[in-house]
Symmetry: C2
Subunit: 199 residues, 2 copies
């Protein structure tokens, strides 16, 4: 025996969300049906609208329902002549929250991963190359994740720009602020030492 | 800075789900937009349909989009003359999965909780009283949760039936199968001892 068809369908559909299994899907379904149908309605609508209308920014590839995202659409952001390359829109938000960057972005929407069929074209490097020619920025800041794939992607982009006059930099890796040396892993400490700066 | 309006709206709406905070909502949004728009579309539709069409079974109060749920609609389930009272539709599924019960159900959709404004009428006890008169079952099995509120609710229903000739029983509480005595709490062990049966 199962629940009624519509309830079953909702429980099954909710499991497309990352981290949601049959149990949590059931709990979510009952919570919405019992306590908050208005919120459920709103969520349904928000989902349908976002899935239908959200596309990619023509310049930086982040998610937006306009042709250009708010950052690319802001002429002030072009002044610094910097482009920061990140893996995902969430990384853009993280950097914006730091308040230390006023240039533009380029969002790869992933990283190089040949085994998964993600080559240079899939992460938009052809588009990035075109952008570098068109905008001729002064600096390209590589802010991909400090993982094997992220590092490889950064290296690939750096190699790509070797011929041009663009300054290519990689964000610093080291001990995070507020952390304790005792609990930092060896690789991070090694990077932190090799990347030391004079005071 | 935030994401674009539709993306923001989706991230905010997802937080109506129990256990979903801003971070998971963001991860869910990006996962759906990047990898699985079809599933997102389907989820949006399932939500809208369920919120609009799912109501309560006229007889047992569980969730269904029909007048009667499949269990109440099945004449075979009336034969045993038993009604099992549970707190939620998930409990119905749990009991059905055990395969040991072929009677009907009555779903309270909660438990007595005067402080939250949940009195006898809110959990449908007026409806249950009517049902007991109409169907005159042989046995009423109280399978509310073994919590303070669940026990109080069971006691209240038992008192309600004192005048009638219906046999009222409570499911057994004790050591769960596969558990180890060493790790079972004192109250459960005490109940398990006081509820012992001759072999």
């Amino acid at each position: 025996m199962k629940f009624s068809p519509l309830v079953d369908e909702l429980i099954k559909s909710l499991q497309c969300l990352p981290g949601v299994g049959p149990r949590s899907a059931q709990r979510m379904t009952f919570q919405l049906l019992e306590r908050d149908r208005a919120a459920g309605h709103k969520l349904g609508q928000a989902l349908s609208e976002a899935m239908a209308d959200v596309g990619h920014c023509q310049r930086c590839r982040t998610f937006t329902e306009q042709t250009l995202c708010p950052v690319c659409d802001n002429p002030k952001r072009a002044r610094s002549g910097q482009i920061c390359v990140v893996e995902s829109p969430a990384d853009v938000l993280a950097i914006e929250t730091s308040g230390q960057y006023d240039g533009r972005y380029f969002v790869l929407m992933g990283h190089l991963s040949p085994l998964d069929g993600l080559g240079p074209d899939e992460i938009g490097l052809d588009r990035l190359e075109q952008l570098l020619q068109d905008e001729a920025p002064q600096e390209l800041i590589l802010a991909t994740n400090p993982t094997v794939e992220g590092d490889a992607t950064a290296q690939y982009i750096a190699d790509m720009c070797r011929e041009s006059s663009i300054r290519v930099s990689r964000i610093a890796h080291g001990v995070p602020v507020g952390g304790e040396l005792e609990y930092v892993d060896g690789t991070t400490l090694a990077l932190s030492l090799s990347g030391r700066r004079e005071l």
